[in-house]
């Protein structure tokens, strides 16, 4: 069983939505990514696991325009792309929650949800004076949070810095879920959360998949990964050690591959 040939169970050969080949990224002398390939198929949850420093975050940053890889190829729906900045990936419908949570603490929840894609008022005020539709964005933010089942955030006018860690995470996840039209990428979304909040995020991941959106989920938490993932990309020392499924391998196997004690 080789890593790259694995596909979601029961699917014929399908075109990956996101396809990475031989991504290399170095930081001075540190090799963050050492030739990593990855395929994301429609409607699947692909988990990425690995030890600290294995290159998980660097991998998803290269997939989402936050870092530009030194070499390697990236394709979206079969089309070659070269993301130079995060907004390039966004323009292709790829939304990301970064590990360090790219939220603006002093701005309120609604402003954060719409940060970088604010909506203007219709009519001359919006066209001529570029006035923001603050009310409209607040209403939509509320609707979106309700739709996503995020009940802990009732007041969208609260500055994000006044929120708990879990609520901030919810804001970041909600932003990605609300705007992601092709792929949603979540880097350790449950790392700072309690049990109940973690379950909410996992449920959200399932909901996204059920809506047809493929999800890349980076996590340290094996039970979470084995709970929601269709396939698991095991990252080790800047390389992809294996791609497995919850059916083909146990948690113990996965940890063994992760730590180099075993190979797939």
């Amino acid at each position: 069983m080789t890593a790259t040939e694995m596909q979601p169970s029961g699917t014929a050969v399908r075109q990956p939505i996101l396809q990475a080949r031989n991504l290399v990224k170095t930081f001075g002398r540190v090799v963050g990514l050492d030739g990593v390939s990855l395929d994301l198929y429609p409607g699947e949850v692909l988990a990425v696991i690995g030890d600290n420093g294995a290159g998980k975050s660097t991998l998803i940053k290269c997939l989402t325009g936050a870092e530009v890889p030194d070499s390697g190829e990236l394709k979206v729906s079969g089309q070659a792309v070269h993301f130079k900045r995060p907004q390039d990936a966004r323009a292709h419908g790829i939304e990301t929650v970064y590990q360090n949570l790219a939220v603006s603490p002093a701005l309120d929840v609604a402003s954060n949800l719409f940060l970088g894609r604010e909506e203007r008022l219709a009519g001359p005020l919006g066209k001529l004076f570029r006035v923001l539709d603050t009310k409209g964005m607040r209403r939509k933010a509320k609707e979106e949070l309700t739709r996503l089942g995020i009940s802990t955030l009732q007041d969208v006018t609260v500055p994000v810095e006044n929120l708990s860690g879990g609520q901030r995470q919810a804001v970041a996840v909600a932003r990605a879920a609300a705007f992601g039209s092709k792929v949603v990428v979540l880097d350790e979304p449950t790392a700072a959360l309690g049990v109940r909040e973690s379950n909410q995020v996992l449920q959200l991941v399932r909901d996204l998949r059920d809506r047809g959106l493929p999800v890349i989920l980076i996590s340290h938490n094996m039970p979470h990964v084995f709970d929601v993932a269709d396939r698991i990309h095991v990252q080790r020392l800047g390389k992809c050690a294996a791609t497995i499924t919850p059916q083909s391998h146990s948690m113990t196997d996965a940890v063994a591959i992760m730590t180099g004690a075993a190979t797939a």
Binding site: A102, G116, L193, G194
Partner: protein
């Protein structure tokens, strides 16, 4: 395995909740939350108290002519404070605002008087000087990633030297200039009182900048960039373009300040306004805008400039030595920054 599941995270979640619970409880933290939400509130209270106290101490203080004098005295520094606020909101600082304004005013005056260029064109040239200076600062900050403090410390000296070289160190008197240049120093009657044109222009500029900061995407991006640059970048905001536009906008505001300065002093002097750099920072800081960026408002800076003006005027009416004015401003600055630090603890 089991270790990984149960370690840390749930515990931190609980600690967070507990912290928040306590925070909501005390009245003190409720005040802090309100001040945090409305950064212009604390300077507004300080200004109100100062006006009442000085009014009680001396009945000349509250006369219209005196209040009008205070606003005229703060009109130039108040305008510079707009530019300074924009830059401090991005977590920067501009030590060159005064020098840029003086350079711009000298170019305007020399072109109009020395070269006989019509007033409007001379003002336009002043605007180009302001934009050019802003572009230079912005370029150095965004392209070479130099700290704004260092960049503007350098350009401050450059602009001062260029001003002196260009003007030969001589002052241009207002009486020799076209009327348009000193128009900002004029007054017009409004009912029983006379209103200063320069003060009205400053207030209009405050209104315009407050509108842009509060109601447009650009304004929101300015706050986001100052708040957390990396988060702004990851959220898809073109950080360098926003920073560059802020320095350009500041330059345009400073050109406006140059016009006000010519009217106010009825002259253009290369040696004027040595204190204006620090005074503009003082106004912004007292106005509740955080030096760490991302929090504050231009209205706060207007209040800050007014507070300084009111203290100076009130203390001198009370017959105190001018040194006490300086002392009071010093105390105000430290007080304002302490309050800001305290407010920022809301972040937990």
């Amino acid at each position: 395995m089991a270790q990984q599941q149960t370690a840390g995270p749930p515990a931190t979640g609980h600690a967070d909740l507990a912290g928040e619970f306590l925070d909501r409880q005390t009245p003190l933290s409720r005040i802090r939350n309100i001040l945090h939400r409305y950064p212009a509130l604390s300077p507004a209270i300080v200004l109100l108290v100062a006006v009442v106290v000085f009014g009680l101490l001396n009945d000349r203080f509250l006369r219209f002519e005196n209040l009008s004098l205070i606003t005229q005295q703060v009109s130039v520094v108040g305008t510079l404070a707009i530019a300074q606020t924009l830059i401090i909101l991005t977590a920067g600082i501009d030590l060159s605002v005064g020098a840029v304004m003086i350079l711009s005013s000298m170019v305007v005056a020399q072109l109009a008087v020395g070269s006989g260029i019509p007033g409007p064109l001379a003002l336009l040239a002043g605007l180009v000087v302001g934009l050019g200076a802003g572009a230079l600062n912005g370029f150095l900050v965004t392209r070479f990633k130099l700290p704004p403090f260092i960049v503007t410390l350098g350009t401050l000296n450059i602009f001062i030297a260029v001003t002196l070289l260009y003007s030969g160190g001589s002052t241009v008197r207002g009486s020799s200039m076209p009327g348009l240049l000193t128009w900002t120093g004029s007054t017009f009657p409004l009912g029983p009182v006379r209103i200063s044109t320069g003060v009205i222009m400053m207030l209009l500029l405050y209104g315009a900048v407050a509108f842009i900061l509060g109601k447009t995407a650009w304004g929101r991006h300015v706050y986001a960039v100052g708040d957390d640059k990396e988060a702004a970048r990851l959220a898809g905001i073109p950080v360098n373009r926003v920073l560059m536009s802020v320095y350009l906008a500041a330059g345009a505001v400073l050109a406006m300040g140059a016009w006000l300065q010519i009217g106010r002093t009825n002259a253009a002097s290369p040696n004027a306004g040595v204190d204006l750099n620090l005074d503009s920072i003082t106004a912004v800081v007292i106005g509740g805008t955080s030096l760490f960026g991302g929090r504050g408002s231009v209205w706060g800076s207007l209040l800050g400039a007014l507070i300084v003006g009111v203290f100076r005027n009130g203390l001198s009416l009370a017959g105190l030595d001018v040194l006490y004015q300086t002392l009071a401003v010093g105390v105000l600055i430290i007080l304002a920054v302490s309050i800001d630090q305290w407010i920022r603890k809301v972040k937990s």
